[in-house]
Symmetry: C2
Subunit: 477 residues, 2 copies
């Protein structure tokens, strides 16, 4: 339809790269693998950040900030951790004109430096739990990068908590998985499958990793947030110990959990269409745009006056923009704001001025059926209701898409077919070697072992062994 | 008074280092020169950030994010810039296990990489002005570091704007200086002297730099925010050009301006006393703390019930904390919250329960005169009024301190004496060499040439030449 944009059905990947730039979400940078987050994209990230941050604080967490640089020796203290991250490190070797005695790593994640500080801060059971989150930039040297999805530097939050008991730490891990699920569903309107990561997909150094997996419009999976139960691995590596109530020294139990700017990519690829972005109202930088329409010059003043009054009426409760640019036609503006994914357009023409109405046009429902004429009186209420309706509608649409692209499969051949267009769901009892074979043969991976399980057992789709759990399989970003 | 804390009069510097750690604002990190901002300190920074960010948005700015890494060659494009920053750079030489072809600098400031992007984004006068701010971490390799005041890595905001005309860019530079002044005075309760930097103190690459200078309680100056008019220096170095309305190609005019986590240090050293921090109510992470007081066990339930009800009453409008810890005495709690600088303590005892009152105790006015008994009915209003009073009072106190520590001086000897305890104000017509001599002989520098000038002229305090302007002199952090 839109000739400025590649159709999703033609080349989804190309569509993504184009819309991210055309809608001014991000731009490539002169530094290999890094991105520039443009104001529109950054405002979307600020909305994501604020809604997550609110949930973190409601669940008792506080923010802090730890250093960007980590001594190389710190990473080496946890064997699996250093093995997992070594190939991705950026290393500072010179500072202030001199070569450093010990190279510094630019943090790829902060378990090690935070573990070091926790060892200093935690002495007694009275100091626990420690519930800290950090908003920060991290660097992982990536060979193949995509804006928002995989970049050398990205922004994220990383929660790091320490607890007196294994149970508490496990509860925290799952609590944050719930927080992420709640955020994805209710703010980003993205249906996600919460589940456990398989052995080969878990975080380097974790006992167990949990994830929320989303399905993009091309049927591929995007890991959209992770929560890790770290057991006592990092506590032992960094000597995080405390005296318990019985005055006995114990190692603490720790967790970590994160969501990154990747979430912006998830929003784009879950809801976008051939006209461009479709943003969920709760996260949209601009929720509604007012477009004044006139043909004759003598209509202009009255229409603009009405549009400005409506803007004043809406501004206290709605993130609204008035597009009163003179040099552009209403049709051009319609296309432009559609491309940018603004959930609601408010049209005001001479007839609306006469009848004290406006026309609301939904981004998610192009054409006549998405248009509703409403009274100017009580507009903030009508707009709020319509935005809530849109939020629900795009969630339901994404959910229906995902459900129609998950196939319950019994055989390996059926699995191979299903992951061409979406996810496969099947009994699974494979180990690391089976996963490696699966990935090599199909390019798919175990995305997660869902928290919701049917119970009972069945034959593993790959090995035929009796399996107690079902897993979700898919190709992933 | 407080035996856990060195007295300010004994050793101000030691007092500062102690209180920053004891009040849990920050901690040293295992990485040389870097700090860990602890939750209490970070919440204070979040308040500073939110209040600045609100002002930036009200003046038409938007946030974006640019890469952490800058190619070394970019810095070299602006001669003064690279000369100024070279000695302070942290350099990444290896990424993903391989040596990089071109070393990457960890940004010490972002004029260069942002200049590169602006050259790409700006084509026409219609693209101007560009009014972008970034919240980010930056790294400057420092030899002697102090928590918050001078650290290798710090957090800040850096605004970068581009304009079609010199006048517009100059207006922007001064507008942001006003924003900083307004923030310092009305949020941080810190009186500041806005002024122009001298030639040798200005930003590397700027045509003119402006600053807000604050006086700490030891009489030393702290540069608390800067705003730079960059002329066309960076536009020429990075080719930021646009077609003007007459279709003629022009270089843009740019500005940059920043405030950093140093502001936390300014708050500590402006208001703190021998009992610890004194935080301005508008920035305080906790504005009021409720301390329940009982002697007999049978009083406990009623006092706690009242304290909880008061907490519920206040929580919607006040950042309030209820300290209902059982194991600690009221006296211990008083000292602890005083040390942490909470502006208002709300005491509730058995008599208060009976009389439906509470005792409000001001942090800034220890002893009986800072105590007021008020009714529980309407407490949110009484607390709000008291917080506003405290905000005003600590500003007035800081202003009176500063005014009594600025001396108008005529002679170099008078200047030398004045800067032992505060600032000197004098006629000034010196150049770079005079400034160097002044610094060597007195350890003082020209802090700023104030925006407010008396007019007329007089003999330069150092050179005796006829001077048109007065300057502020002081030793600085």
């Amino acid at each position: 339809m839109a000739d400025f944009l590649t159709a999703q059905s033609e080349d989804f990947s190309k569509w993504y790269n184009e819309i991210v730039q055309k809608a001014d979400l991000a731009d490539y940078s002169p530094v290999r693998g890094c991105m520039v987050i443009k104001p529109y994209g950054y405002t979307l990230w600020e909305r994501i950040r604020d809604e997550l941050d609110r949930r973190f604080k409601e669940t008792g967490h506080v923010n802090a900030y730890f250093p960007l640089f980590i001594p190389m020796s710190f990473l080496q203290k946890e064997a699996e951790h250093v093995e997992g991250f070594s190939p991705e490190l950026a290393v500072v070797t010179h500072g202030g004109g001199e070569e450093l005695e010990e190279p510094l790593v630019v943090r790829p994640t902060s378990e090690t430096i935070i573990g070091h500080m926790y060892a200093k801060w935690i002495q007694s059971y009275r100091d626990l739990p420690v519930l800290i989150n950090q908003w920060a930039n991290v660097v992982r040297w990536e060979l193949r990068t995509r804006l928002f999805l995989r970049t050398t530097e990205f922004l994220w939050q990383e929660g790091h908590t320490a607890h007196a008991t294994e149970t508490e730490a496990q509860e925290e891990t799952l609590r944050m998985l719930d927080v992420y699920t709640d955020f994805a569903v209710n703010e980003a309107a993205i249906p996600v499958l919460p589940g456990r990561k398989s052995e080969s997909e878990k975080f380097a150094g974790a006992v167990a990793s949990y994830t929320i997996e989303a399905m993009m419009k091309d049927g591929k999976a995007l890991q959209s947030g992770t929560s890790h139960f770290l057991g006592q691995n990092f506590a032992k590596a960094f000597d995080i110990k405390f005296l318990d109530e019985g005055n006995v020294q114990q190692y603490a139990w720790t967790t970590s959990w994160g969501v990154s700017t990747r979430m912006v990519g998830a929003v784009v690829m879950t809801h976008g269409d051939d006209q461009g972005l479709v943003l969920p109202p709760r996260l949209a930088p601009i929720q509604a745009v007012i477009v004044p329409i006139w043909r004759k010059d003598q209509e202009r003043a009255a229409v603009l006056e009405a549009a400005r009054a409506l803007y004043q009426q809406l501004a206290p409760t709605v993130r609204v923009k008035l597009d009163d640019r003179d040099e552009l036609s209403p049709g051009w503006k319609f296309n432009d704001w559609e491309m940018r994914g603004v959930p609601l357009r408010i049209e005001v023409g001479p007839r609306d001025v006469a009848q004290q109405t406006v026309m609301l046009a939904r981004r998610d429902m192009p054409g006549r059926e998405g248009k509703t004429s409403v009274a100017q009186a009580g507009l903030p209420q009508s707009v709020a209701e319509m935005l809530a309706t849109v939020q629900q509608a795009i969630y339901q649409k994404a959910l229906a898409f995902r459900e129609s692209h998950i196939a319950d499969v019994q055989t390996y051949d059926e699995l191979k077919e299903a992951i061409q267009t979406g996810f496969a769901r099947a009994w699974w009892a494979g180990g690391r070697e089976d996963e490696a074979r699966l990935k090599e043969e199909t390019k798919a991976t175990v995305r997660c072992i869902p928290m919701e399980q049917p119970g009972g057992s069945g034959p593993c789709v790959l090995t035929g062994k009796e399996a107690q759990e079902i897993a979700i399989f898919g190709r992933a970003y």
